[in-house]
C-alpha cells in the first residue's frame, strides 16, 4: 500500500462512503472523490496499460492533464468508454474497467509486447505489414490496438441539451486569477459568467492551507458571494471546449456518469482565460512507471482528496516552488527527498511500481516520484481565438503574445506563476486596462537530452512515443512538427499533447540544431478535453435533423392499410393491404397494367415561374427548348448544372406566356428551388420573373392505366377529355374547386394527374377509389410505381445517373446539337470529355426468364487477368411483373453503341452474362400511352 487517505485535508465528505468496482474487485471511496483519487487512496497504482507496448501505467496528473488513467465505466447497464479516471466523479455503484488490458491491468497477457519493443518503432506497423496487403493484417492489429470498447447501443435517453446563453464577460477558470477577475468585472457592472471544470471553485488555492490568514475555502466562498451579489453567475463542472469564429465559445457542463452533459453556446464581449498550467514530464529512462506523477498531482491529491500519494517521496524538478509542496507532503506524514534533476542522468527502478530513483549514479530509495520539468500554460483557447505565442526562455515554454483584443489570458495560463502578481493582472483584464508586464521568471532548462537516447524515455505516455521515436522521425526526415506528430502519433492521444508537446518539440529542435520557436507548434484545435459525441449531436437526430414531410392524404392511406415508408424525405405509401411486400407489389403492378393505378403524387415538386420574362427564364434553365412550348402543353426536360451534368428531370407545363409550372423530383424540390433562384438573381431582372414553390399547397391524384380515361370521365373534373391529348394541361373543377388535369406519361400508360388544393384532395381521392373499383382499379404505392417506371426506362436522377452523367448519355442528345439559345450548362456539353465515345451511357440489361435479379452495383467487366477492367455498373434492378423477367438499368461505357451485345457481369467474385438492350423494356413502341 503506497497511496493512502489521511485524516485531514481535502474537499471530500468522509462521512459519506461510496463503493464501486475496479477490474472485478470492490473498492471504497467517499463523496467528493474522483475514480482516480478513490483508487489511489485504496493503494491501487496500476490503472491501465499503454496503447502500443502494454506497459503498466498509473496516474500522472490529478485532473484533465492525465494521459494514462483511461477507463471504461459501466453504470445503469450502459458502458461509457474512455473516461478519464482523474476527472470522473465517483458515485455509488460504478463498475470501472481498465482499458487496453486483458484480463486486467495488473496481469496483462499482451504485456509480452513490451519485450518486443525494439522491433516496434514509429511507423512499424505500416512498414512491416505493407506486403502483401495491409488489409490482411489490419483486423488483428486493430483488435490489439485501440483503447476503450465502444457501446454500439443507441441511448435514447442520453441527449445533451444545447443551449444559447449570454454574458458580457466570460471568465474561464475559477482559480485564484479567475475569481479575482470575475469579482472585479462583476463589481464594475459587467454581466459576468465564470466557469470552472472542477466541482469546487478555487483552483490551486487549496494546496496552500497555511499561508493565508483564513482557510482557502473561506476565501473562495467570499469571492463567489461577491460575484453573485454583484449579479454575476458561476457554473462549476463546466469546461470551455472551444473558441470559434466571431467570438463564439462553447462550454460544457458535466453532470456526472449516466447523465448527458449540457452545452451552452455564447458570444461574450470579453473573454478572460484563466485556465492555469500543467506540469511537463521530465524525459528520462523509464519515466512512465506507475508511481511517477507530476508535482502538482501530488499536491492536488492531497489538497482536494486528502490522499497522500506515497510514503517515501522523491521530488525531481526545476520548479522554484517545490519546497513548498515538499513541506505540505511532510506535514501530511511523508518522507520527502528534494532532488536536482540537473545533477545527472536519471532512471527509475522497479517495473510494476517505483522502487527507487537512480540519479547521477546514486540510488535513492522511494516508492513515489513527483516530477516536473516546469509548467506549461494552457493556451489552447487563446490559440483557438487566433492568438499568437512566444517562446519564453526563462519559463522554458510558450506564452501568449499578440492576439484578439477581446480575449485576455491571465494567471498561470499567461505564464504568471507568482501568486502575488495575480491581483494586478486579473484587475487589468477585468477592467480592460493595459496588462502589467510579465515578470522575470527563470528556471533551469530541463529538456530531453538527444545525445542520450539510451533506455526508453517517454515523451507521449498514452501513445507510447519515446525519445528514440522522435530521433527516428528526424532521421527519416519527418522534421516538420505536423509530420512529426503524424509519423510518431506524438500529441495525438486523448490529452492532445498537453503533457508531451513541449518535450517533443524541444527534442526535434535539438536534433535539427534549431531553437524551439523555429520548430513551431502544431495547431491547437477544439475540443479542449475529450467530450462525448452527444455534446455535438444534442437533439439533432433522426427526424429532428430531417423532419419527415407528410402527405395531406396520409390518413386516407392509413385507412386503406398502407405500409408507409420514407421516399426522398416524404412519408409515402409503399404498398397497400395486408399482403407481404412481394405479393402486394406484384398485385399492384398487374392492376396498373390491366386496369388502372390510383396514386398520390403530391410529393412531386410543383414550382411556378411567373412574370413577363418567365418564358425566357425557363428556356434558359432547361436543357430542352422551352421557348416554343404552347399554352396548355407540357414538355419533359432536364435541368443541368453549369458543368453540364444532369441535375433534375421532370415535366413542365405552360399555362400561358407568363406562367409555367415546373414539376420536379419529389426529393429535390428544395434544391431545384435554390438552383432556379440562383439563376433568376444572377442572369435575369428579378422584377420581371418570380419563382414560387407551391409543392405544399397542392395535392395530386394520378390515375394511370388502360381504364384511366373512363375513371376520370366519371369523376367529371373536365367536361370532356377529347381535347386533352398526351402532354397537355387543362383547368377544370372538382366539386366547385379549381382543379388542374395534366396528361403525362407516369407509368407508360395513359395517365391523368389531377391536382386540387389540399383541402379538397381527400374527397377527390375517396371518389377516385370508389369510381375506380368497378373498373378493377385501386391504390398503388411507391414500390410498384418504381417497378412500372423502370419497365419503361424512366430514370431516377441520382440513382440512374452519377456525377459525370450528361443528358446525351441518357439518349437525349438533340438539344445539345440543335438548341441555339443559351442555357445553363450548354458550353460544358461540348468539351473533349463530353464528346468522348466511351462515356458511361444508360442502357438496359436483360437476362433470361427465371434467372435471378442482377444486383445493383454489380460491375460490367471486360478482359481477363491484368487487363480486366470495369465498363460500368448496374444502377437499378427489378422483377418486371409485366415481362415476367428481371429488368435492369446500367451505366456502361459506350453502351448506346453496343445494343444486343452480350456482356459479363461480375459481382462479389461470381460472374454472369447479360445482354445490352434499350433502357425501355416494356411497350417499346409506346402504343399504350394513348390507348
Amino acid at each position: 500500500m503506497t497511496g493512502h487517505r489521511i485524516e485531514t485535508r481535502g474537499l471530500i465528505d468522509r462521512s459519506k462512503p461510496l463503493s464501486f468496482r475496479f477490474d472485478g474487485k470492490t473498492y471504497h471511496g467517499v463523496q467528493g472523490d474522483t475514480v482516480a483519487s478513490a483508487l489511489l487512496a485504496s493503494g491501487v497504482r496500476i490503472f491501465g496499460r499503454s496503447f502500443k507496448y502494454h506497459r503498466p501505467r498509473g496516474v500522472w496528473g490529478a485532473w484533465f492533464d492525465d494521459p494514462n488513467a483511461v477507463v471504461d465505466i459501466e453504470f445503469g447497464g450502459i458502458t461509457y468508454p474512455n473516461c478519464q479516471a482523474t476527472t470522473t466523479q465517483l458515485i455509488e455503484g460504478l463498475v470501472v474497467r481498465s482499458v487496453n488490458a486483458w484480463p486486467t491491468a495488473q496481469r496483462d497477457l499482451k504485456g509480452v509486447l513490451d519485450f518486443a519493443h525494439r522491433f516496434l518503432p514509429a511507423g512499424f506497423y505500416y512498414k512491416t505489414f505493407m506486403w502483401p496487403d495491409w488489409h490482411l493484417f489490419e483486423p488483428i492489429i486493430r483488435r490489439m490496438a485501440g483503447i476503450g470498447t465502444l457501446n454500439t447501443d443507441v441511448q435514447d435517453n442520453f441527449e445533451a441539451a444545447i443551449l444559447h446563453d449570454h454574458c458580457e464577460t466570460l471568465v474561464i477558470g475559477g482559480g485564484l486569477a479567475g475569481l479575482m477577475a470575475a469579482r472585479t468585472a462583476a463589481k464594475a457592472g459587467k454581466s459576468v459568467l465564470m466557469i470552472d471544470d472542477h466541482p469546487e471553485f478555487g483552483g490551486s488555492s487549496y494546496r496552500y492551507p497555511n499561508d493565508a490568514a483564513d482557510a482557502p475555502s473561506n476565501w473562495v466562498d467570499e469571492q463567489l458571494s461577491a460575484i453573485e451579489d454583484a449579479g454575476g453567475r458561476v457554473l462549476s463542472n463546466t469546461t470551455a471546449i472551444g473558441v470559434y469564429d466571431h467570438q463564439a465559445v462553447s462550454i460544457l457542463t458535466d453532470r456526472g456518469v449516466g447523465v448527458a452533459p449540457v452545452v451552452r453556446k455564447l458570444r461574450p464581449e470579453n473573454v478572460i482565460v484563466a485556465t492555469g498550467a500543467v506540469d511537463r514530464p521530465i524525459t528520462f529512462s523509464n519515466n512512465d512507471r506507475p508511481g511517477l506523477m507530476s508535482l502538482d498531482a501530488g499536491a492536488e491529491f492531497l489538497a482536494r482528496y486528502g490522499v497522500l500519494v506515497g510514503h517515501q517521496i522523491a521530488i525531481l524538478t526545476n520548479r522554484p516552488d517545490a519546497a513548498n509542496v515538499a513541506a505540505q507532503l511532510e506535514n501530511a506524514g511523508a518522507n520527502v527527498d528534494l532532488l536536482d534533476p540537473k545533477s545527472g542522468a536519471a532512471k527509475t527502478i522497479g517495473s510494476q511500481t517505483i522502487k527507487g530513483l537512480q540519479l547521477a549514479g546514486h540510488t535513492h530509495t522511494c516508492d513515489t516520484i513527483l516530477a516536473s520539468a516546469g509548467l506549461t500554460p494552457m493556451v489552447h483557447l487563446w490559440r483557438h481565438a487566433g492568438g499568437k505565442l512566444d517562446w519564453d526562455e526563462g519559463r522554458q515554454t510558450f506564452v501568449p503574445s499578440t492576439g484578439p483584443d477581446w480575449m485576455r489570458v491571465i494567471g498561470a495560463a499567461n505564464g504568471t506563476f507568482e501568486r502575488d502578481a495575480l491581483e494586478e493582472e486579473a484587475r487589468s483584464a477585468a477592467l480592460n486596462a493595459p496588462s502589467p508586464k510579465r515578470r522575470i521568471y527563470s528556471i533551469p532548462p530541463l529538456l530531453p537530452d538527444t545525445n542520450n537516447t539510451e533506455g526508453r524515455q517517454w515523451i507521449d505516455f498514452q501513445h507510447d512515443v519515446t525519445l528514440k521515436d522522435v530521433a527516428l522521425a528526424h532521421r527519416e526526415n519527418m522534421v516538420s512538427v505536423e509530420h512529426l506528430k503524424r509519423y510518431t502519433t506524438l500529441g495525438m492521444a486523448g490529452d492532445q499533447g498537453k503533457t508531451s508537446n513541449v518535450a517533443g518539440l524541444a527534442a526535434m529542435a535539438a536534433l535539427k540544431g534549431q531553437k524551439i520557436p523555429e520548430v513551431g507548434t502544431t495547431t491547437f484545435r477544439p475540443p479542449f478535453v475529450p467530450i462525448p459525441l452527444e455534446a455535438y449531436r444534442g437533439a439533432h437526430r433522426d427526424t429532428q435533423v430531417a423532419p419527415l414531410k407528410r402527405l395531406t392524404l396520409e390518413p386516407d392511406h392509413r385507412a386503406l392499410g398502407a405500409a408507409l415508408g420514407e421516399y426522398g424525405g416524404w412519408l409515402r405509401p409503399a404498398w397497400y393491404g395486408e399482403d407481404d411486400e412481394k405479393s402486394a407489389v406484384t398485385r399492384e403492378c398487374q392492376m396498373a397494367r390491366s386496369a388502372a393505378a390510383i396514386m398520390d403524387s403530391s410529393a412531386l415538386g410543383a414550382i411556378e415561374v411567373i412574370g413577363p420574362d418567365a418564358r425566357a427564364f425557363v428556356n434558359f434553365v432547361y436543357y430542352n427548348t422551352m421557348s416554343n412550348l404552347k399554352p396548355g402543353r407540357i414538355r419533359y426536360g432536364f435541368m443541368l448544372t453549369e458543368g453540364g451534368l444532369v441535375f433534375d428531370d421532370g415535366v413542365m407545363a405552360c399555362v400561358d406566356d407568363t406562367r409555367f409550372i415546373i414539376s420536379c423530383s419529389s426529393s429535390h424540390a428544395d434544391a431545384v428551388m435554390a438552383h432556379l433562384e440562383h439563376w433568376r438573381q444572377d442572369s435575369f431582372d428579378p422584377d420581371r420573373v418570380h419563382i414560387h414553390d407551391t409543392t405544399q399547397n397542392w395535392s395530386t391524384v394520378t390515375i394511370a392505366g388502360p381504364m384511366s380515361r373512363a375513371i376520370v370521365e366519371e369523376l367529371g373534373v373536365l367536361d370532356t377529355l377529347e381535347d386533352l391529348p398526351h402532354m397537355a394541361l387543362k383547368f377544370g373543377a372538382f366539386e366547385g374547386v379549381q382543379a388542374r388535369v395534366a396528361r403525362v406519361s407516369f407509368t407508360g400508360d395513359t395517365s391523368f394527374e389531377i391536382s386540387v388544393p389540399n383541402s379538397s384532395v381527400s374527397k377527390l381521392w375517396q371518389q377516385a377509389i370508389a369510381v375506380g373499383k368497378p373498373h378493377g382499379a385501386g391504390p398503388v404505392g411507391a414500390e410498384a410505381l418504381i417497378v412500372l417506371r423502370a419497365e419503361k426506362g424512366y430514370i431516377i436522377v441520382g440513382k440512374d445517373t452519377e456525377g459525370e452523367t450528361m443528358p446525351h448519355d441518357l439518349g437525349f442528345g438533340a438539344p445539345r446539337l440543335r438548341k441555339s439559345a443559351a442555357f445553363v450548362g450548354d458550353r460544358s456539353l461540348h468539351t473533349d470529355n463530353a464528346n468522348r465515345e466511351d462515356r458511361k451511357q444508360l442502357v438496359g440489361l436483360s437476362v433470361d426468364s427465371g434467372e435471378p435479379l442482377l444486383p445493383v452495383g454489380a460491375h460490367i467487366v471486360t478482359g481477363q487477368g491484368p487487363d480486366r477492367r470495369s465498363l460500368g455498373y448496374v444502377t437499378s434492378s427489378h422483377d418486371s411483373v409485366a415481362l415476367e423477367r428481371p429488368i435492369s438499368l446500367a451505366l456502361i461505357s459506350g453502351g448506346l453503341a453496343a445494343m444486343g451485345e452480350k456482356v459479363e457481369i461480375c459481382h462479389m467474385g461470381s460472374s454472369r452474362h447479360a445482354t445490352i438492350t434499350s433502357s425501355c423494356a416494356f411497350d417499346i413502341e409506346g402504343t399504350r400511352i394513348d390507348a
Binding site: Y244, A821, A822, S828
Partner: protein, 88 residues
C-alpha cells in the same frame, strides 16, 4: 460559427447562408464561340485570395443574393451590399 449581416434581415448565423461564388465573374455569352480555356476559367478557377475578398452569398431563409466583402484570413466581415441596385 460565424455571423453575417444579411443586407435585408440583419445579423444572422452562418448556417443560414450559402456561398454562391466569387464576385465579379460574368457568364460568357454562350451563343458566341467560347474557348475551352475561357469556359474553364469561368467555371472552375477562383482567386481564392487570402485576406480581403469579395464574394456572392445567399441568405437561404430570405433567398436574396448579396455581395459580401470579408477577410478570408481573419474571418472579419467588412461589408455586405444587396445585388439589386434599386434597394441599395
Amino acid at each position: 460559427m460565424q455571423r453575417f449581416p444579411c443586407p435585408f434581415c440583419g445579423l444572422r448565423d452562418e448556417r443560414e447562408f450559402r456561398f454562391a461564388g466569387e464576385a465579379g465573374k460574368t457568364r460568357p455569352d454562350t451563343t458566341q464561340e467560347v474557348s475551352d480555356k475561357e469556359w474553364a476559367n469561368y467555371l472552375f478557377f477562383c482567386k481564392n485570395a487570402k485576406g480581403p475578398t469579395c464574394e456572392i452569398w445567399v441568405h437561404t431563409t430570405c433567398q436574396e443574393y448579396f455581395v459580401m466583402e470579408r477577410d478570408s484570413a481573419t474571418m472579419e466581415v467588412l461589408d455586405t451590399t444587396p445585388m439589386r441596385k434599386d434597394v441599395a
